[in-house]
């Protein structure tokens, strides 16, 4: 038996599974200046995003919580990408990421390895998993 679509291969790539099993920037962030929680009531997954901002710049980003491969990999790659970005640049990344997974827009080059999550658009039930950490990021940046 073989799957009728390549969803498994398209989405659950080495990169995503590797971030899932060895998430980057995982754990509390001492001296965080902004933080927010995301919760997906349909699966119970939670993610906390902690940022250290100096002026308008994100100098450190961490996340906590537990979730599926998609939400964990998304959070892990997100914390890597936003580090060193300005508040505006980070918000622009959030917009680009959501355009990719929600609307199915081709991945913007600035998303880097996060383009590995483009396939989530094909799985409507999983879009919320991918955007969980990004929503928390937007809330934290709004503080």
């Amino acid at each position: 038996m073989t799957p009728q679509s390549g969803a498994l291969n398209d989405l659950y790539r080495e990169l995503i599974l590797e971030h899932y099993k060895r998430p980057r920037n995982y754990g509390p962030l001492p001296e965080a200046t902004a933080q927010s929680q995301g919760h997906n009531p349909s699966c119970g997954d939670r993610v906390g995003v902690m940022l250290r901002l100096e002026g308008q710049r994100v100098v450190a980003a961490h996340f906590t919580g537990s979730g599926c491969a998609i939400s964990t990999a998304s959070a892990s790659m997100m914390t890597e990408l936003v580090q060193g970005k300005t508040r505006e640049e980070a918000l622009e990344l959030a917009r680009a990421f959501k355009a990719m997974v929600v609307d199915g827009t081709p991945p913007s080059p600035q998303l880097g390895q996060l383009s590995a999550l483009a396939g989530v658009h094909q799985l409507p039930a999983r879009v919320k998993c991918a955007t969980l950490a990004w929503n928390a990021l937007e809330q934290a940046l709004a503080q």
Partner: protein, 410 residues
């Protein structure tokens, strides 16, 4: 393994959706069941030939509609061994439980009283009690679940003090498939003077349920999980208790006399059926009860048990990476809750989807149970009378593929 004839009741041809989609392996009957042609035909026949409002017009069409609606009440009453006047049509089990919580709870509970629930309840049998406890000052306690997935009956005896005014519990768990010894528990509770409410959302569709044997005061169930349409369900209550209850919703149909500033109410069951009911849906649910009765609920139950035993045996043998939850024994219905290695349930469900498998992943509206199990989410494959051995085989083979795909990450 010797194959039991119970593994396929050969009823799939009765279900047009399943016939039309042979690639689909529908294993989410715990969430909602598919509908047999007989039910769809009954609904269509009602709209084509008998549609009018009920309990109103003297013209023949309204008389026919009323007769069809009341005949459905009779079918449901016979299906659960009840009197017709004890069957209240509601939308679903959730509404039935809310009806009891508000109508009985608001009038009878006070600070210091206890509502006893269990850790394996669906949110539908938790949240209404939270709302009513908040308004009455009553306290909520819950019977814990053992590691085997059964209610801890010793703890139940300890918790069942005279302070407990009401015990509300699930007959068959929508996650674990556990069938609780409701008759035994109801006897203990009623000896303590507590009212006993049973959530029969899973039990009434899947096993023979007779309210005379149950020994409870109220039984709630949904039509759509027992081959009926959405929008029609039942609250059964002992008549002398229903008679004492104030209305839940007010409006037409449920009154005796209405003045500008006050009204008096009809006797049960009409007292609890405000507004135009889901007439065609009730008629469809009556046809569903007839369909199930014709197959035989003993047979439906034996089939569920045979399939779950077959599925568990294959999974244990061939997918040792799967963690299987729920009790083993005669008190287990046709539900397979599981996780795969350390993978999150939603990842496994997405991976199974391309195989045509409709399984559910998440907390299944039972967060306290998952908290007790120590996991955020499970996958759930569930069976019904149209499920077959082939469905189980395709499920196990797909899960093996997914296991192989993720083998380095389990």
């Amino acid at each position: 393994m010797t194959l039991s004839p119970d593994l396929d009741l050969k009823l799939k041809p009765d279900f047009p959706l399943l016939q039309g989609q042979p690639e689909l392996v529908y294993l989410d009957s715990t969430a909602t069941s598919q509908k047999p042609r007989a039910v769809l035909a009954a609904i269509e026949d009602f709209y084509l030939h008998h549609n009018a409002n009920v309990h109103r017009g003297a013209y023949p069409l309204s008389v026919q509609a009323t007769a069809a609606f009341e005949a459905a009440r009779g079918k449901l009453a016979r299906f659960i061994g009840a009197q017709e006047r004890e069957v209240v049509f509601v939308r679903n089990a959730t509404e039935a439980l809310n009806l009891v919580a508000y109508s009985w709870g608001l009038g009878n509970l006070k600070p210091g009283d206890e509502i006893l629930l269990t850790e394996m309840e669906h949110h539908a049998n938790l949240v209404p009690w939270h709302l009513v406890a908040g308004r009455t000052g009553a306290t909520i306690k819950a019977v814990p679940v053992t590691p085997q997935g059964r209610l801890d009956l010793d703890a139940l005896q300890t918790l069942l003090t005279p302070k407990v005014r009401l015990l509300s519990l699930v007959h068959m768990s929508n996650v674990l498939g556990t069938v609780n010894p409701v008759a035994q528990i109801a006897k203990l509770a009623r000896e303590q003077g507590a009212i006993v409410v049973v959530d029969g959302a899973q039990s009434v569709p899947h096993l023979p349920v007779d309210v005379r044997d149950l020994g409870a005061d109220f039984l709630a169930f949904s039509g759509h999980k027992m081959c009926g349409p959405t929008g029609a369900g039942v609250l059964w209550g002992r008549y002398e208790l229903l008679e004492q209850l104030p209305p839940f919703l007010g409006g037409g149909e449920m009154i005796d006399e209405v003045f500008v500033e006050r009204s008096t109410y009809a006797p049960p069951p009409q007292r609890f059926e405000a507004g135009t009911p889901a007439i065609a849906e009730a008629v469809g649910l009556g046809a569903a009860a007839d369909y199930l009765a014709a197959v035989g609920m003993e047979k439906v139950w034996a089939h569920d048990q045979a399939l779950v035993a077959y599925a568990l045996a294959r999974l244990e043998e061939e997918v040792p990476e799967a963690w299987l939850f729920g009790p083993r024994g005669a008190d287990r219905g046709g539900i397979v809750p599981f996780t795969l290695g350390t993978l999150h349930a939603h990842d496994v469900a997405s991976a199974l989807e391309p195989y045509g498998l409709a399984v559910r992943a998440g907390h299944h509206c039972a967060q306290p149970l998952h908290r007790a199990l120590g996991i955020p989410a499970t996958l759930r494959a569930s069976f019904y009378l149209y499920s077959t051995r082939d469905d189980v085989d395709r499920f196990v083979e797909a899960l093996k593929d997914v296991r192989d795909f993720f083998k380095d990450w389990l």
